[in-house]
């Protein structure tokens, strides 16, 4: 079962999930998607190294393999829209346009991290960029995201909220309480389920009675569809459609992104629940970044040297962030008692 193909085997033929046709990207779109995805990948690789060096502690969940999801979805948003997700959040922040320095310095727990070093990898926020976290409790972001959408509705603006969560999180009860309210009150929220096929060591087939997660909203009358989450164009197209639905006041929408995480769940995952071949197969045949790179070359949007220049600039950006995060001082001890109340 390749991660990149919609698994129609769990779907009944009389009620297929609607699917959105691909839209070809312009040169600018392809190049920009390539650059952002690559930034996320290099950033995460660096974070993994820094964890190994003891510069990052606690839990650290890498987003490698899933880059096309956030990048494609972000391309469908406009100013004022909000994003909320779980603890696997570094990629979301970079896609939201946050400076990698602030993200990396938070990972190292330093004074100029996005949360002054107090939140760490799992708990980061940016009011300015409409990024509402960064949540460590599986599923908690779903009602919170629904509430952000409630606020948009309340204020009468046409902004939408993306609430990201995993295939494992999709089994939490509060997800369904949220679904019901969102449809009942027609809230402009897109539930982006990042189905990377595993919740820690549990494959979705071992945890979910219905593994086609796009159907999880059916009994609440929420439309849903499965999307090839490894193809940034497919993500963007589905995102556009869902965003238009929400902005038009039609209520929530579910996008199940079929994707894959290359690394372990967190840094301490022995990964015995899947084979090396399974990982390699996705990596070699469906890598989201390789696919864009190839397309760019085929369509002659850029030459090999141009891409190499992008690669080099991305590496510089990430190295600068790592450098910054390594030398930034620890937070002042007086910060222990700040930000508890305001």
């Amino acid at each position: 079962m390749p991660a990149v193909k919609a698994n129609s085997n769990t779907q009944t033929s009389d009620d297929p999930a609607p699917s959105t046709p691909l839209i070809e990207f312009s040169k600018e779109q392809d190049l920009s998607a390539y650059q952002t995805m690559l930034t996320i990948r290099r950033f995460e690789e660096k974070a993994g190294q820094m964890y190994g060096m003891g510069l990052i502690g606690g839990f650290c969940h890498l987003y490698i393999g899933q880059e096309a999801v956030v990048v494609g979805m972000q391309m469908a948003l406009k100013e004022g829209d909000q994003v909320i997700t779980g603890y696997r959040d570094h990629g979301h922040m970079i896609a939201c346009g946050l400076d990698p320095k602030g993200v990396m310095a938070e990972l190292t727990g330093r004074a100029h991290g996005l949360s002054k070093g107090k939140g760490g990898s799992m708990h980061m926020f940016s009011k300015e960029k409409g990024f509402y976290g960064g949540h460590g409790i599986v599923g908690a972001q779903v009602p919170l995201g629904t509430g952000l959408a409630f606020a948009n509705r309340y204020r009468g603006n046409d902004n939408v909220t993306l609430a990201y969560f995993g295939d494992g999180a999709a089994n939490q009860g509060q997800v369904y309480e949220s679904f019901n309210m969102a449809e009942l009150w027609k809230l402009p929220v897109i539930y982006v389920i990042e189905n990377n096929r595993y919740a820690m060591g549990t494959s979705s087939t071992r945890s979910s009675a219905e593994t086609n997660l796009s159907r999880r909203g059916l009994s609440f009358k929420i439309p849903g569809e499965q999307v090839d989450g490894m193809d940034v164009r497919a993500v963007k197209a589905a995102g556009d459609k869902a965003v238009a639905w929400c902005r038009a006041g039609k209520g929530p929408y579910i996008l199940e992104m079929l994707t894959y995480r290359y690394r372990g769940h967190s840094m301490s995952d022995p990964a015995k629940y899947r084979t090396r071949e399974e990982v390699d197969k996705v990596r070699s045949a469906h890598d989201p970044i390789d696919m864009v790179r190839q397309r760019i070359l085929e369509k002659k949007f850029a030459k090999e040297e141009d891409l190499k220049k992008i690669d080099a600039s991305v590496r510089d950006l990430v190295n600068e962030a790592a450098e910054f995060a390594t030398h930034d001082p620890e937070p002042d001890v007086l910060e222990l008692f700040t930000d508890i109340y305001r």
Binding site: G58, G109, K118, G120, I137, V138, Q172, G201, S207, L336
Partner: protein, 467 residues
Amino acid sequence: MPTNILMPALSPTMEKGNLAKWLKKEGDAIKSGDIIAEIETDKATMEVEASDEGTLGKILIAEGTQDVAVNTPIAVILNDGEDASSIKAGEPAASQKAAESAPPAAAKAEAPAPKEEKSAPAPQAPATPVAADPDIPEGTEMVTMTMREALRDAMAEEMRRDGDVFVMGEEVAEYQGAYKVTQGLLQEFGDKRVIDTPITEHGFAGLGTGAALAGLKPIVEFMTFNFAMQAIDQIINSAAKTLYMSGGQMGCSIVFRGPNGAASRVAAQHSQDYASWYSNIPGLRVISPSTAADAKGLLKAAIRDPNPVIFLENEMLYGHSGQVPKLDDFVLPIGKAKIARAGKDVTIISWSNGMNYALKAADELAKDGIEAEVIDLRTLKPMDTDTIIASVKKTGRAVTVEEGWAQSGVGAEIAMRIMEHAFDYLDAPVARITGKEVPMPYAANLEKLALPSVAEVVEAAKAVCYR
């Protein structure tokens, strides 16, 4: 005997009302269900129905009377064959509501019922004696094992002994436990008894409780107790309270276990200590061991206990090794503290990872000639007050150590018990060392400051010794 009709309460909060109107007059025959009067409160007007048959013998409260207290007799109903002369002035008629006049079940027979309506003192919870630790026979082989292994062995032994015991939780089976505590259990007991759940804490805590109400004995593992906050309603409202609510018919033998408190750098949402939360709840037992042997003996006791037990482990201790007696059935008593180190100058009371600070502090103090007695509570509820008090009577000084927050913490409870039972023996106010009252920060330097330290314990112990 004539029956009194009492002023009814029309809502849980009503204390008095007005008797607006009598719809029956003295001498009228009354059937159960007849409307006999109208009562007014500030919220509504309600009708009073008779629940007895007979004749309205006497109206005691006239129509139009204001502010009649709930439970005041308002009329007397005569049974067949009785007449108004049987209503003797001053003699209370039998109350219509049986509950009002029934003596409290716990009241002693010899205690005379007070004549006037004075509130009787509430009965005290009976003290249940707790057995001492079993003697370990001379020559028993001691095995070195980690707390992780001790916990696993405890579960395995109880599962072999009782087919109703099963384990469920996230990643407990195929992954062998997120912290490897359930290692090997799937292989030995199979997937009927070692069950991987979806990430649905509230659901599986409730499901486990339901299975326990039906007589099974679940061990529910929370990957950490932080995630049990999703499930706390089922733990408290269902598991802890059902025995009482069902008048003793239906209890549940269930263990909720997993790591509690701070690990290392996992920040605010993954670092909370729930010791004081659960030890606030009647109906729960709360255990939190610090050594491998105690972990084994107490987990076995918890699995056998007929009540819901919260078993708070600690990730930092899983890898610690200790000596565990090699006995066929090593079970420790729930509710018994242990003197981990004897001393005469100051009592330091802690449990779980707090024992690390306490014992290291005792070493430091010894260098300065202060002999600290260190008590490992092991069980937080029921708390072994006797052991604490006996020690404090000897030392006259006490310091509590916990990683949780100060307000309404376990240390606050210990200090209160010492005040209640050993105030006259104290030579200094009780001191407490706790985690700082902040969400756990991620940054390494701040996390260190947020947690208790050995230095703080030493300082507090010296302070209560006036040194």
